[in-house]
């Protein structure tokens, strides 16, 4: 592979890693949701919103199953 091709390939790999970190790393914001009807609060949900690349979620689920 020529130097230019190798640099281009490495840049692409690094870009993929950067995008992976943007959607798989970082601060996870937690939130609370109250579901109500006609102004009456019925259900309270404490939420932890987690967005992650599919392969990380699959790995986490597999780990949990193994430890259960």
């Amino acid at each position: 592979m020529s130097d230019a091709m190798e640099r281009w390939s490495n840049d692409q790999v690094a870009l993929v890693d950067l995008i992976d970190r943007v959607i798989g790393g970082g601060v996870v914001i937690s939130g609370d949701v109250v579901i109500g009807i006609a102004g009456v609060d019925l259900v309270y949900l404490g939420l932890r919103l987690v967005l992650a690349p599919a392969h990380e979620v699959e790995e986490s689920v597999a780990l949990r199953r193994r430890s259960a």
């Binding site: 390939s9 690094a14 950067l18 970190r21």
Partner: protein
């Protein structure tokens, strides 16, 4: 509102466009601030959006310490952003101070066509496939151990990231040490059969926004 990053309370949003609007804004509490963008439309989460978001964050990281927020996180109102800031500002402020002057680099080592080797082995026999798979895992573990040892002098923290091909290690490194770490890793690549090795970064500390040791203690 689309959330970009937690920053110190005296930081300001950089000039330039956001993903969907002409400018970014800063919402402040006493101990921390958040860089946000008024973003009325639903985002599609495309590669292009992720890339633009990453570029904005990387630019911002050259001007201030920051904790990146996972993309795409949105809150509906300014008051919701402020409430989130006020609820977490003590922890975020402490972590921002700990991460000042540190960046993330990701080291990836990838061997030529590992799936091709596995396919060929699986055609021979089940045992052959399992042996080939075990050899690939051992090679990955050995590389992780070697790289961890190699970067020990510069990496303040390490995290092995999930990877479909080869291995990936995120390192938290002082900005001044990044060239030394990069040279050491690329030198390591040249002296052995380590496949394609790429050192990505410096980037904001995506993998280190939480102090894992403190959290698990």
């Amino acid at each position: 509102m689309l959330l970009y990053a937690v920053v110190p309370p005296d930081a300001t949003a950089p000039d330039g466009k956001g993903l969907a609007s002409p400018r970014l804004e800063t919402i402040r509490s006493a101990l921390a601030a958040m860089i946000v963008e008024e973003c009325p439309d639903r985002l599609h989460g495309t590669n292009e959006e992720s890339r633009t978001f990453a570029e904005i964050l990387c630019r911002l990281a050259t001007t201030t310490p920051l904790l990146p927020i996972r993309f795409p996180t949105m809150l509906t109102t300014r008051s919701a952003v402020l409430a989130e800031l006020q609820a977490n500002e003590t922890g975020w402020s402490k972590r921002l101070a700990e991460l000042r002057g540190l960046s993330e680099v990701v080291i990836r080592a990838k061997w030529p066509d590992p799936n091709g080797e596995l396919d060929a082995a699986s055609r021979r026999s089940g045992t052959s496939y399992l042996e080939s798979r075990a050899a690939a895992l051992r090679r990955g573990d050995a590389s992780i151990a070697e790289i961890s040892e190699l970067v020990r002098d510069w990496a303040r923290d390490l995290k092995v990231l999930p990877s479909q091909q080869g291995i990936r290690i995120a390192c938290l490194v002082a900005d001044a040490d990044i060239p030394l770490l990069r040279d050491a890793v690329l030198g390591w690549q040249q002296v052995g059969d380590h496949g394609q090795v790429v050192v990505g970064g410096p980037w904001p500390p995506f993998s280190f926004v939480v102090d894992q040791e403190a959290e698990s203690a």
